[in-house]
Amino acid sequence: MAEDYIRLTTPLTDEGVEKLKIGDRVLLNGVIYTGRDAAHKRMVEALDKGEDLPFDIKGAVIYFVGPAPAKPGWSIGSAGPTTSYRMDPYSPRLIALGLKGMIGKGGRSQEVIDACVKYKCVYFGAIGGAGALLAKSIKKAEIIAYEDLGPEAVRQLEVEDFPVIVVNDVYGNDLEKEGRKQYEVRD
C-alpha cells in the first residue's frame, strides 16, 4: 500500500481509475457532487421516468454526505462521509451510466463491488467523523437540485486536495477485507 498521495482531478477517466489500488491515498481536486439517501432515491426515480439527472454522471464523483450548515466565513459546515451501504441499492445503476467515483465510509455490497469492476468505478473512503477537517478542503458549495431535502439536497462542491483512500478498486479488491486479514490476531 503506497504511502504517497496520488493527485486526481475530476472528471475521472477509465485510465485514471485503473491506476488506483486499494490502500492508495488520493487527493481529489475539481468538482464533486453530494448525494445521500433521499437524493439517491430521487435520482433513480428520475431515471425511471426518463428524466435527466441533476448533473452529468459521466466521469463524476458522488460524495455521500449531508453537511452541517455553514457558519459565516465558511463555504460549508462540517462535511464528513455518511455510511455507504444505504446507497448500495442505487449505486450500480449510476455506475452503469458512467459514475467513476464514490466517497463514503464503511463497506459495500458485492453488487456494488461487481459493478465497480464491470464499469470501472472506484469507491473511496473518507474519514468518518472528521467533518470539520474535511470541510477545509471544500472551497465552494452550491445547491444544484432537490433543495427541499435540506441537508440531503444535491450540492456541487469544488474541492482542493480532498483526502480519501481507495477502499474498492476496479480489480475487485476490498481494503476492509484485506486490512482486516493483515491485522487479525488468532489465538
Binding site: A68, K71, G77, A130, V185
Partner: protein, 279 residues
C-alpha cells in the same frame, strides 16, 4: 420546594447542544491519543491523527465535530424537591434543542420515518427523566449519530447462554459492523431488565468516563476481555485494518426476568459527545 423557571432549562439545553457538538470530552480526546500510540497500522495511525486534528479544529473554531450532529438524547435527573415554574418543561427542552441547533449551525437530522421529510428543527429530542432525592436538576445531553446507532442491536439471549453468550454476541456485533459505525468506537453493553431496559442500560454505559472500569470485578474483567477480542479482529480505525477498533467496552448490568437474558449493544462512534450541567 425549590422553584426552577423552565426558561433556565431552555437556555441550559441550548448551550449543551452547542458545547457537546463543538468540544470533544477530555477523556475521549486522551483515549484517542493513547490509541495513536498503540495502533500498528500506518493507515490506522494516519486516521487517528486526522481525527485528533479534527477535534482541535472543532474546538478552536467552534464548529461541529461531525456533520451528523445527532438526535439530541437528554438524560434528566430531577430532584424531588424541585418545582418547575414558568411553563411546560417538555416544551422548554424542545425549545432549547431548536435554538441550540439553529443558532449553533448544527445539522438537523430528525425526519418522518417514511416520507423522510426533515422536521427542520431537530425535534423531538429523546428524553429520559429520572426523579432523584434533593433539589437540583442535572441535565446530560448526548448527541447521537445515526451511523453508529444503526449498528446497535438488542438480542434476547437464552439464560443458558450466560456471560459467555453475552461476550460472544458483543464481539460478533462488532465484527459485523466493520467500518460502518466510525471506529474507533465505544461499545455500550446493557444486560438485564426488560427488552427496552437493556437498551437504556447500554446507552447509559456510553456516558461513563473512559478509563473507569465497572466497579464489579467480574464485569470489569468481562469488559477487558471483550475489548481485547474485538481489537484482535484486526478491523482497526475506520475498518481499514489495524489494532484499535474499540477504545473501550462499558458493561452495565441489572437483574432480569427468570425467563430472559436481554442483551443490548449500543455502539458509539469516536465522536462520543456528551455535556452536562447541574442547575
Amino acid at each position: 420546594m425549590r422553584e426552577v423557571n423552565v426558561s433556565e432549562i431552555t437556555q441550559a439545553v441550548k448551550k449543551l447542544c452547542m458545547d457537546a457538538n463543538y468540544y470533544l470530552p477530555e477523556d475521549v480526546y486522551s483515549a484517542l491519543q493513547e490509541a495513536l500510540k498503540k495502533e500498528k497500522s500506518p493507515v490506522g495511525k494516519s486516521v487517528l491523527e486526522q481525527i485528533i486534528r479534527n477535534a482541535d479544529i472543532a474546538r478552536e473554531e467552534k464548529v461541529a465535530i461531525c456533520q451528523d450532529c445527532g438526535l439530541a438524547v437528554i438524560f434528566m435527573e430531577i430532584g424531588q424537591n424541585v418545582k418547575f415554574v414558568g411553563g411546560d418543561l417538555k416544551e422548554a427542552l424542545f425549545e432549547g434543542v431548536r435554538q441550540g441547533y439553529r443558532e449553533g449551525y448544527l445539522r438537523k437530522s430528525t425526519c418522518h420515518p417514511f416520507t423522510r421529510a426533515n422536521v427542520g428543527d431537530n425535534t423531538p429530542p429523546v428524553i429520559h427523566y429520572d426523579i432523584v432525592p434533593g433539589d437540583k436538576v442535572r441535565i446530560v445531553l448526548a448527541p447521537k449519530g445515526g451511523g453508529s446507532e444503526n449498528m446497535s442491536r438488542v438480542m434476547m439471549l437464552k439464560p443458558a447462554d450466560g456471560l459467555e453468550g453475552v461476550k460472544d454476541y458483543v464481539v460478533q456485533r462488532c465484527s459485523e459492523s466493520g467500518g460502518n459505525p466510525c471506529p474507533p468506537v465505544i461499545v455500550g453493553v446493557g444486560v438485564g431488565g426488560t427488552f427496552e431496559r437493556s437498551a437504556f442500560l447500554a446507552k447509559k454505559a456510553l456516558l461513563r468516563p473512559l478509563g473507569r472500569p465497572n466497579p464489579d470485578l467480574e464485569l470489569a474483567a468481562a469488559e477487558q476481555e471483550m475489548l481485547e477480542r474485538i481489537n484482535k479482529l484486526g478491523m482497526g480505525p475506520m475498518g481499514w485494518g489495524g489494532t484499535v477498533y474499540a477504545l473501550a467496552v462499558h458493561f452495565e448490568m441489572e437483574p432480569c426476568h427468570i425467563a430472559s437474558l436481554p442483551c443490548a449493544v449500543n455502539i458509539n462512534c469516536h465522536a462520543a459527545r456528551h455535556k452536562e450541567i447541574t442547575i
